[in-house]
Each structure stands twice: as structure tokens, then as C-alpha cells.
Amino acid sequence: MRPRSITGPVILIAIGCFFLFRNVWPDIRVYEFFSMYWPFLLIGWGVVRLIEILVWYATGKPLPGRGVSGGEWSLVVLLCVFGTFFFWGSKWSPSWPSRQIRVGGLEIFGEPFEFPMSAEKPAGKTPRVVVEMGRGNAKIIGGDTESVRVSGRKTIRSFDKRGAEQSNVDTPLEIVAVGEQLIIRTNQDKLSDTQRASVELEITVPKGAKLESRGRYGDFDIRDLLGDVEINSDNAGVRVQNIGGNLRVDLKKSDIIRAIGVKGAVELRGRGHDVELESIDGTVTVTGGYTGEILFRNIAKPLRFEGERTQFRVEKASGFARMASGNLTLDNVQGPIQVTAKSRDVQVRSFSGSLDMKVDRGDVEIRPSSLNPGRIDAQISNGDVDLVLPQGAKYDIDAVTARGDLRNDFGVPLRQDREGKGGSVRGTTGVGPQIRVKTGRGAVSVRRVGSESPANILPKTLPKAPEVPARVEQ
């Protein structure tokens, strides 16, 4: 009998591992990983076949006429097509994690040549600084100086050194004073299409400066400024820390926007992947499409998030609001709270003030804190509702499902009625605000804090909200 190859089963195992990995660690970007490293699959496959054939040969078994069958070749072609597709796809997409690969991928022609850059210009205490750069990364730091200082390096891809030197001369680093503005320019747009220059800048500006940066492709890292900061880019990662003024970020694409410690208002618009805002003293407005993890923590003024399918608004977030993988969690936030979601599980925990919620599809958990109770109104088209009230809470409760199970763990003051396929839990636990909860299809349960199911444990990575008492084992 002709020996059978092991590649079939091995491929099956590999595909299984791929999806298992993706399901178990969804945060690791397997698709990007695949798009970069798929050629090694081809190499590995070839090596396995080669070893097989050599082993068969050595043990004297009959050899197949062709080392790789026609079916396998078509699989190889398919792999090449998909791999290339994913590779180009991920290269242009904002979610690509590594900066090195991102820049390297586009500059496949020629050898890299590096040139140092530096410039300095007196600027006064509170200048208005504009950074105009093409491809590249910039680190901008406020310091105790009265001048703008730029240093860094430029990388030019060219087939020969002379071409690179010419390109370097063509793209001078300039600091130009135009009216009140001080413009830092890297002039990469002066190069022809066949050459690419990317810069790595470190810019020190006076602490009191106002900053405006325009880039095409690359990261901004900005810290310790007292003035306003504005960032515009086609594709950027933005990291901002310790800003005294307002922060405005307008990006066509981004892999991450992170701001920690902003005294003024924060406004983000555009599209991107992850967003992380922490310790913001002003209002926060986020508009656009963000596909990754979104985290707001310690926001002192009203926070408004306007996504494409999910919107929410809170008056203040002492705790956090986190949105990731089909889930929205608001924990220790202050109302009035508004949540509108098309398809998302929503948990609102330890909140005070009123809550208005509208969810098309998704399970909902509502868990007010005992402080400052407010009116609660939740309309769910399709999903379970879990209402967990603190001990001794005084509410006028009306929880209805048109079709689904009912559960009343609260006890006597509430009455449970079946009506057709659905039913209601109604009653008053004391003079207090109204709770109106309604689901079109799904289970409704009303419970007291303490009678919780094990499924409601907070995620490990997030801080425990102070108001939620420890779970009581029953």
C-alpha cells in the first residue's frame, strides 16, 4: 500500500488550533499574525512533505509520482491569494500593532539610509507651535525652555547613497515663523513617489505652548503641555499625557488613542481601534467608529460617546465605562445616564441618578447603588433583564416581559404575575423613584444584592467598584 501523507490531518489540527487560539485569547490579533507569517505555513508544509518523502525513500517504501498532489497545489495557491490579501489588508488597516512593520512594509524598495536632523528657534513662553510632517513619529514634550528644539533622524529608502543624500537635501527640516505661529516642517511631500522618507522626531517646546500637529502616517506622543493640543492625521497612534488645555483629535484611522490627565475638554472624532481616556477634568465627546476596546476612567464632567451602533452619555464617571467585544459596562458612574445600543450586552453597575436605556438585542444588567437613587427606564427588544437592587432600596417597580421567564428573588412586597407567555413583577418596596423595565423577549429577574448568580463576577482586569458589597455565599 502506498503510504499516506500526514499533511491532511496536520492542516486540520493547525486550523483547529488557529480558531481555538482566537476564541481563547481574542485580544491577540491572530489575523494580523497570520497575514505576516503565513509564508512560514508554506515553508513548514513543504518541509513536512520533504521529510516524509525522504523517510519513505530511506525505508524503501514506494514513492509517489509527485511530491505534491494537484489538490495540494490548489490549496497552496489559495493560501498565497488569501495570505497576500490579508497582508495588504492589514498593512493599510489601522489595527496593525507594530510600527516597525507598518513603516517597513511600504518601503520595500531600496536600502535604508539614515540622516540626523536638528533645528532650534527661540519661541517665547507661550508660542503657538504647528508641526507639519508626513510619514513618521513625533514625540513632543513641554519643558522649561523658551525655544523650540527639534532633533531626530530621517530614514530614506533609496537604491544608492547619492540618491538618498539628494533626497535628504530636498527635504530640509525647517522651523518657520508665520505670524504668531511657529511651523515645524519636515517637507517629505517634496520627494518623488519612488522615494520615501520617514522621520523620527523629538521636539521640545515651551511648557505654555499651544500645539497643532498634522501628520499623514505615524504616531504622536505628546506630554506636559499647558496649552491646547490639536492633532490631525490620516493614520496615527496618539498618546497624550498631562495636558493643561483642551485636546482635540481628528483622525481618519488610528490604532490607539490614549490620553491620561487632561485638564480641559477632550474631543475625539474619526475612526480607529482602541480608545483609552483617563483622568479627564473637562467634558469628553467621542464621535465616530471605533472597533477595539474603549475605556473611559475617572471622567469629571459629562461624557458623551456617539458610536455608529452604540451611544451613551453619563454626567460623570468616577469609575469607568468600558466597551469591548459586544459588551458595554458602566461601573460607578453618575447620572442622568442614557444608553442606546443596537446589539450589545449592557451592564450598568453601582450607578446613581436616573437611567434611560434602549437596547435592541442584548442582555442587560441594572444594578443601582444605594446612593441617590433615580428613575430607571429600560426598554429591551430582545434580551434578558437582570435587576439587582440594594438592600432596603425603595422603589416603585414595574418589570415586564412579553415572552419569557420571570424570577422574583426580592420577596414579599413584589408580586409576580404570568400573563400569556410573559408576565410581570410589580410592586412597591417603599416610597421612591419608578423603575420601568420592559423586554420584548427574554427573562426578567428582580433580585436583592447578595442573591447573585456566579455568572455576575466582575472581570478580573477591572477594578472592583467600591459600592458593591462582597458576595455572600449561600
Binding site: 505576516m36 507569517y37 503565513w38 509564508p39 512560514f40 505555513l41 508554506l42 515553508i43 513548514g44 508544509w45 513543504g46 518541509v47 512533505r49 520533504l50 518523502i53 525522504l54 525513500y57 514513492l63 509517489p64 509520482g65 509527485r66 511530491g67 505534491v68 498532489s69 495540494e72 497545489w73 497552496v76 498565497c80 495570505g83 497576500t84 497582508f87 517597513g104 512594509g105 518601503e107 520595500i108 524598495f109 531600496g110 536600502e111 535604508p112 529608502r157
Partner: protein, 63 residues
């Protein structure tokens, strides 16, 4: 007999060797400055080398 066997070995490893070559070229394309549009002649060279090696063993009809 041994010659035939060697020949069939050469034929059998042709496929896997091609696969490894293409994989390597794509890997180079993704990870270094050598783009596929510049390195594709390597495939021709490898095919040529394989053919030459096959010729080193006598074909069964001639032996």
C-alpha cells in the same frame, strides 16, 4: 534499479522544494526589503536546478 529509485526521489521532492522556495520568497517579501517582484527569478533557477539534478540520474527507459 537504484537509479530509477533516485530519479523518482528527485521527482517526488520537486513539489515540496518548490513549495519551500515560494514560501521563503513570500516571507522575504513581507519581512525584508526583497520584494517578490524582484526575487521571482529564484523560482526559475530552482526549477532549472531540479531538472539538472534529475538529469544526473539515468532515466529508466535508457538504463
Amino acid at each position: 534499479m537504484n537509479g530509477t529509485n533516485n530519479l523518482s526521489l528527485m521527482r517526488a521532492i520537486r513539489g515540496p522544494v518548490m513549495m519551500i522556495t515560494i514560501g521563503t520568497l513570500f516571507a522575504l517579501d513581507h519581512m525584508s526589503a526583497f520584494s517578490f517582484s524582484r526575487t521571482w527569478p529564484v523560482i526559475l533557477i530552482v526549477i532549472g536546478l531540479m531538472k539538472l539534478l534529475e538529469r544526473a540520474f539515468p532515466a529508466p527507459a535508457q538504463s
